[in-house]
Symmetry: D2
Subunit: 371 residues, 4 copies
């Protein structure tokens, strides 16, 4: 389905960095969910470039809801949000036309679109498209929150600095949902910011690892083949530009340990099945087991850097040296967190709607699931 | 779509470990592709438990093609293969009914299927189902090979031992496709086997990391949002039981380096655009760039171990101690390689058919893509 | 998705008329639904050729459930049924190889499958495949019946004879579900049978119109664009070979009348909204309105007739005269009714599962829908 | 997928009659297709209410392309068009809130959306949404026309008047594509217009039957189960409000004749297989056979009529009398023709892209299909 993801609840994205607007459509979300423009604003602000750590392109991220909302609630019909593009300086890009930015989608996109692609600012490959995703994500997150599912993402590692792990997920998530720089240990955030600025000054960029935690999901979500929780989440997450790895629970570390160390022992606690550790990240056999869902995404360093790079001009077929003008982020790791949250919310809304029906978002899981 | 994956070329799986049979259906594959029972046999043999490193369950993996093949070629209509189950000892499982094997799908499956699931031997969650996937995978791999796309998977790390990296992909892939123990450096394989046996003797199990390389793909495959090459591959790969992480190119290591180190410089070589390194694993912006596609999967240690484990009886709601009988693998890392190949072949067949049409498999990419 | 239909509950078909077996897979159906082999047998018997009105090919329609059923109930995992082919006389077809049977899929199939298709007996285009659909349909119908949704199909017109319209739907449906010759007025059935035999004696065939009624559906099913109830039902119904028209409620007659005649006046009745007439067939704006869903399918006369026909040999590119041997139905109108029921059940199960979640089939609509 | 249709080429619709805007997104269409705003304008004008035969609501149908077009050609990324709503008089609807318009989607929508729907002017059920579909349809039609596929729709019957049948399809289609009142025999159009006005004066409305012809399609499109050409077309066509029947070729008349009358005899003509008649509408076994594709849609009379009607107030649960104010069409039969063309174009683009790959629209079928 290309630019659409999800079956029961789906999301479609459109737009190019330097076209008239970007936007997206949510379909299949239940009627009656409150839509709060302030909540959309807040999530957009967490993604919006606004500091010395970010690109100097400044977009107001004004948004307009074109459909699917009536009297401040979802109607249940397709909900379209559009964000006009404003601060475009296409000239920055015209002069580099044909010069592939290494490790960016320019050349791959040229092969796919045969030169008809809107190459200005990365076109449809631009991170700008994630603003539309984030605006819609705010509504999905609010639908989840209404039934007791909450989630948050922090920068686990960046520039050689490591944040602390989740401790009290409920509190940590609440903190992250209002944090401008999403780390659990503020001093680590300051060290990360310093590392990002150092890279920027060196004409370079950094990547990092972000970690997401989800609480409130019922056990029994997902399908063993092929729509496992891990499969669906990773499918959506890898759409985010720059993500090159996704792992669940202890992830690649699990590969290094023995079964007796990797298995999560199980216990009854207050009539509920829990695991004493959560190295499997809340998913067994592709299905949620009632424990928090935990995963990590590896984010590569922003490929657009100020330093000279060896590249090719794919229009002329010649080798070339690239000196990027334009405006770029020395790190997208801070700004990617609300995007990861949005994509996660999409997958979870879809899974919940498939399992419990459309009305789960207004009636709640307990009611839909009652025995 | 649950147990079906793919749009243009799709695959559906069915069956339980101790039911009458497992099997699957491929749909959308072009007519006229040669189907060689020996090739199916060979791939099945690479997955089949047969040594002291594997479970002692011995299945002949006899298979029968029920449809979609006529005069030794695909017809283009749905191709169903069925493999009867033979060596079942369900009694092994009956006595542990309700006792969740930690980090296995038992409890999550119970929550999903409300106790109606066929719990014997893991039921539909069983690794046994991958035999059907492998039988179908052999046909998909042969379709790819007919148009010059080949791929192979090796054990990159297992039990603290590391295989060498790919050097000459064409040669390495050819080697892996006939290797019983899929490593590039045979002595490392022997060390890995020793580590697996050591774990087995300790009543324990090990995991590992497998790495896959694909050559021959044209640039321009994949969709930026949401059907990126990474997204589709990971979606399918995470369906394989035990995989807890998927990464492309340098994967999580990319997160630790700067842009100037992570970017792949580009050059013209014999009129073709190449990259001097391949840290992005052949995919930029979600689209193939013409370089080999490279990815890793983290495989957790087999959760079924002989040691006593703390668990619960989810039927009675009581804590319990689990001593697993049954027959289990101390490591599935060897047997998972042809399964990873099969899943990869499915995703690639689907991407190629979407891009170039159904007939790509008989006419070739060059013809379909000609300018 | 080609040979798969449905999202939340889906069905995949495979097999050719003269291959080893035909079969199909249901996926997404709730766990815990009773599976009664006798009910499958009964529905198969209503489709099975067995009288002078039918083809003389006699298949036992033995079936085997390979997966998805445990202790006589659905497990919730994919349910595969296979029916071996037995009474094949492929020789009948070999001699006509290349001679397109007019208005049959031979030539269109050749264009699609480039000559690799299994041409014997129509291959995958054969009505034989509907036996697999019917076996699975029996399970879907039983899932619906468990939550109070029932449906039946009668021959409305055949060979110039017209059956009476539905009067008391509940009673009429009960009658049809056990009728061997599905008409509401038995004497009309006898006249139809006579007309069919007359056509047969003339080396010819007849078509007809079948009408289906569904009761027990809640209002609010379906999606305005594009998954309207009419759209989904017609999509699935047109898959049945020979159906060339589908209409809802008064159908094409609605096109001839004025709004004041075509509109269904609405009234309250015992606290429920009803319409005084049902010319819209229970669907408004693509959504069920709580009235019975009613539709008609136009079935063309069986294209295989004994009379000589002008045709071509598409292998040699020459004009030719066709004299069909083989064994054929002078009318499929009787046998198509359980197939229409099965396809209808598939669409309804899918719609219900999407709206109310997987568990609707065990918990019921009222519980899932409660306010 | 609710408001999205198509796999390889898909279309998503959004918007409500009295919301800020309606619009839609095409995805998967090849890069490089010329986009001519005048062609969009012309198709919109054929749908736009503008005469005494239409509703008095007057929308300028201004449209804005937000994405997917660069330098007047498609980029291959999602193409979004938005049409602001302008001439809204919501007050007309407020006073009838809760009063179900008989045979309209009001009550069914209320059951689905639980009262959160935007009830003004039919909301998302409004025919207004078809303006977005038509704007996108113009682009799809142009993609088809670029590879030699053309199609047109005429009013076959309306108000007791019958248009002549297609004679020379190429010429007839060319005529229809520029006709304001789409009939093949102008005098019949005048009689139809008179019948529509007579109904209007009587406070009533009329329906009719439209017929569509498609030429230039290659044989071999479609899938036997379930994505037959008939199934896909009908699925999409039934989404159009007011369509209650779809039939192919001779349609319901086929049901009345014998095989010897209904079969289309086949002949070689200039090296090509043709049929002497086309009672099957160019489709056999669900697959195109190379003859023109022909189908009819039954359009019910507009349910909104000026006459008093018996209805219910579904908010209060009381019987009521409805006198509709607002502005309505005495017939939508003229305006529906470009909408039918648009929907048909969507299905055909999707089928062609699936069969021959994305590039079929720029390289042509012959090239993609060459042997």
């Amino acid at each position: 389905m290309k630019n659409t993801f999800g079956h029961s609840v789906s999301l479609t994205l459109f737009g190019e960095s330097h076209g008239p607007a970007i936007g997206g459509v949510i379909d299949g979300l239940a009627p009656g969910i409150p839509v709060d423009p302030q909540a959309i604003r807040r999530l957009l602000d967490r993604r919006r470039p606004s500091t010395a750590l970010d690109t100097s392109r400044r977009e107001a991220d004004d948004f307009r809801i074109l459909s699917g909302v009536f009297q401040d609630k979802t109607t249940g019909t397709p909900l379209c949000i559009v964000l006009p593009n404003q601060d475009q300086r296409s000239g920055d890009y015209e002069k580099n036309r044909g010069l592939a930015r290494p490790s960016h989608g320019d050349y791959a996109g040229f092969c796919k679109y045969h030169g008809y692609e809107d190459y200005r600012g990365g076109g449809h490959f631009s991170g700008r498209v994630t603003a539309a995703l984030t605006a819609l994500g705010a509504i999905l997150l609010s639908a989840l929150s209404g039934i007791g599912v909450s989630l948050g993402t922090h920068i686990l590692r960046c520039g050689g600095v490591e944040d602390r792990d989740f401790v009290d997920l409920k509190q940590d998530i609440a903190w992250l949902n209002q944090a401008f720089f999403p780390v659990l240990e503020e001093s680590r955030g300051e060290q990360m910011a310093a590392a990002i600025l150092a890279a920027k000054e060196a004409g370079d960029s950094v990547g990092g690892v972000v970690q997401t935690g989800v609480i409130g999901l019922p056990p029994g979500l997902g399908e063993p083949w092929f729509d496992s929780v891990e499969g669906l989440l990773s499918h959506a997450l890898f759409s985010i530009g720059g993500i090159k790895g996704v792992s669940f629970g202890a992830g690649f570390q699990l590969a290094e340990c023995r079964g007796s160390q990797g298995n999560d022992a199980m216990r009854m606690e207050q009539g509920r099945v829990i695991t004493l550790t959560n190295r499997n990240g809340g998913v067994n056999g592709g299905i949620t087991n009632g424990m928090p869902v935990l995963f990590q995404c590896a984010v590569k360093p922003t490929p657009s850097i100020a330093r000279e790079q060896q590249t090719v001009n794919f229009l002329t077929g010649e080798n070339a040296i690239l000196r990027i003008g334009g405006r770029h982020d020395p790190a997208i790791i801070r700004r990617i967190c609300p995007v990861v949250d949005s994509v996660t919310a999409l997958v979870l809304c879809d899974l919940l709607a498939q399992r419990f029906g459309t009305d789960v978002f207004t009636k709640g899981i307990a009611v839909c699931n009652m025995d």
